[in-house]
């Protein structure tokens, strides 16, 4: 039953939504509107589950004193303190929550993302080599696109931004579209397998 009931729900609702997409009848539209209310009710439970899961994972790490368990303490303090600040004083401008966001979360998140620049520079120097004809094409394309992205490229010659645009519009698009068509076909096949009950790995 543990597997059959979820499977029955997925297959029934899956087919109902397929019918809704292709049959624009009032009954089908009403069903869709009714279901939207259900989705709104289900969403808060997902958040609750997420918080519970995060808490349990880090609680276990702390109680078992696994390596670097101290970071889990910081995570839990951050979780509770931020939530407390939000519930207690609200999330508007000038509140402790907004202060935490602007002075802690914003700079920390941006710092993590900006590390990318350092790794790209290091990788470019250490590994980006014209070892073969394909690698040379990639290297030249990368340099043109990088120059095309900044004002210096246009200042050198108008051909740099134009070539950069051509690279993005022609070879890049051809490859992207091929990938997208492949992904689309794969998604359709997987969806069909789920609808027909062949693919069941999501049941755990």
């Amino acid at each position: 039953m543990k597997r059959q009931i979820p499977l029955a729900i997925v297959i029934t609702l899956g087919f109902l939504f397929v019918i809704h997409t292709f049959v624009p009848h009032k009954i089908s539209q009403d069903f869709y509107d009714w279901f939207q209310t259900w989705i709104k009710a289900i969403s808060p439970f997902a958040v609750f589950l997420g918080v519970m899961s995060l808490f349990n994972v880090h609680r276990t790490k702390i109680s078992r004193r696994v390596p670097n368990w101290q970071y889990s303490v910081i995570t839990l303090i951050g979780l509770f303190f931020t939530a407390f600040a939000g519930f207690m004083w609200g999330t508007q401008e000038g509140t402790p929550y907004m202060w935490l966001f602007t002075n802690v979360q914003m700079p920390m998140s941006a710092t993590m993302f900006s590390l990318l620049a350092f790794y790209i520079a290091s990788a470019a120097y250490k590994a980006f080599r014209a070892r073969s004809a394909e690698a040379t094409v990639l290297l030249v394309a990368a340099i043109i696109v990088m120059l095309g992205q900044v004002s210096l490229g246009a200042a050198i010659t108008k051909w740099i931004p134009e070539t950069s645009r051509w690279i993005l519009n022609v070879p890049n698009l051809a490859a992207k579209r091929a990938i997208m068509i492949g992904v689309g076909l794969g998604m359709t096949a997987t969806s069909l397998k789920i609808l027909l009950g062949i693919e069941r790995t999501y049941l755990g």
Partner: protein
């Protein structure tokens, strides 16, 4: 020649921390000491500007800004958001905001507060923040807004019923809120294309980080995206457009001047000019740093390859 090969060989095995220092300096110095550089406006940015500008003083049209990112991508996306909000406030255009991630909610407030400081605009009249809506409700809300925005979103971020807000006069669905700009570090604008554009004909544009540009290009080329802010460069271009047209002041044009390709080509906006507040030229200052960083990376690639070829040649000779 042998000495040169030796130098390059040594450089090949240089500690990566030296590279990090060079990159850090090439980013920090241009940020601390801004210099004037040209900003060339490209078609995808220009299209968004012209579309928004066509709504000027029209109370039956509005723009929706969808925030699908968190603070990590803020350096690239935040200047775009501020520039678009500034344009809307400058040209008396109704603007709505919505966000789909819990940590994007403060970003929306921050963007609105940054832009509204210089304008006499009021929440619920000139702009409206729908606030945070869970990502799982994104598609139902997108589709719902195609029928009736007030029924689909129900309340704004302050809990006020949308039906009671003056900004909702003449704004019912995508026919009126006719431009959606999705700001993200991913391809999430495609969802707006698939649902809001395909089903209801909404105009969709994307504000994305530079690394995601290639992924979104197919939709730009087909016209499914009417325009695109391509990373910090797009933000810098939009800042310039707002400076040159929307916030332009003269006796001939008391409310900004209309867009003109000739004017934008000829106009040079010096960013070292103190007349423009820092928050409105952040992207252009950032582009200076990006320009230097790109050049540094290109130099690194070239040096690495010269070293590689010299070492290979030496090895061949030995064999």
């Amino acid at each position: 020649m042998n000495k040169l090969i030796q130098i390059f060989q040594k450089m090949q095995s240089v500690d990566r921390r030296y590279i990090f220092i060079v990159v850090a300096l090439s980013i920090i110095i241009p940020l601390l000491i801004p210099f004037n550089s040209k900003t060339y406006v490209t078609e995808p940015t220009e299209s968004i500007y012209r579309k928004i500008d066509s709504f000027a003083n029209d109370k039956s049209k509005a723009v929706l800004l969808s925030f699908t990112h968190n603070a990590s991508t803020m350096p690239e996306l935040f200047p775009m958001e501020v520039a678009v909000l500034r344009h809307c406030f400058e040209r008396n255009i109704k603007v709505f905001t919505i966000c789909w991630l819990p940590d994007a909610a403060p970003l929306v407030d921050y963007a609105i507060n940054t832009a509204k400081e210089d304008y006499n605009v009021q929440s619920g009249i000139d702009y409206c923040n729908f606030g945070y809506r869970p990502y799982s409700l994104r598609i139902p809300i997108m589709l719902g807004m195609g029928e009736n925005i007030a029924e689909s979103v129900e309340t704004d971020s302050q809990g006020r019923k949308l039906d009671n807000l003056p900004i909702m006069d003449n704004i019912k669905n995508y026919d009126d809120m006719n431009l959606v700009i999705d700001f993200a570090g991913s391809s999430s604008a495609i969802q707006w294309v698939m649902y809001a554009r395909a089903k209801f004909g909404a105009n969709v544009a994307a504000g994305i980080t530079a690394v995601m540009v290639a992924d979104n290009y197919p939709y730009l080329q087909t016209g499914q995206l009417i325009g695109m802010f391509r990373g910090l460069k797009g933000a810098a271009e939009y800042e310039k457009l707002v400076d040159v047209f929307a916030s332009y002041e003269s006796p001939d044009y008391p409310n900004g001047r209309p867009f003109s390709k000739e004017i934008i080509k000829e106009t040079w906006v010096p960013i070292t000019d103190d007349k423009i507040p820092y928050k409105y030229k952040k992207a252009r200052i950032g582009m200076n740093a990006q320009s230097v960083a790109h050049i540094m990376i290109i130099v690194f690639i070239l040096l690495g390859n010269i070293g590689y070829f010299l070492t290979r040649q030496k090895k061949k000779k030995i064999v």
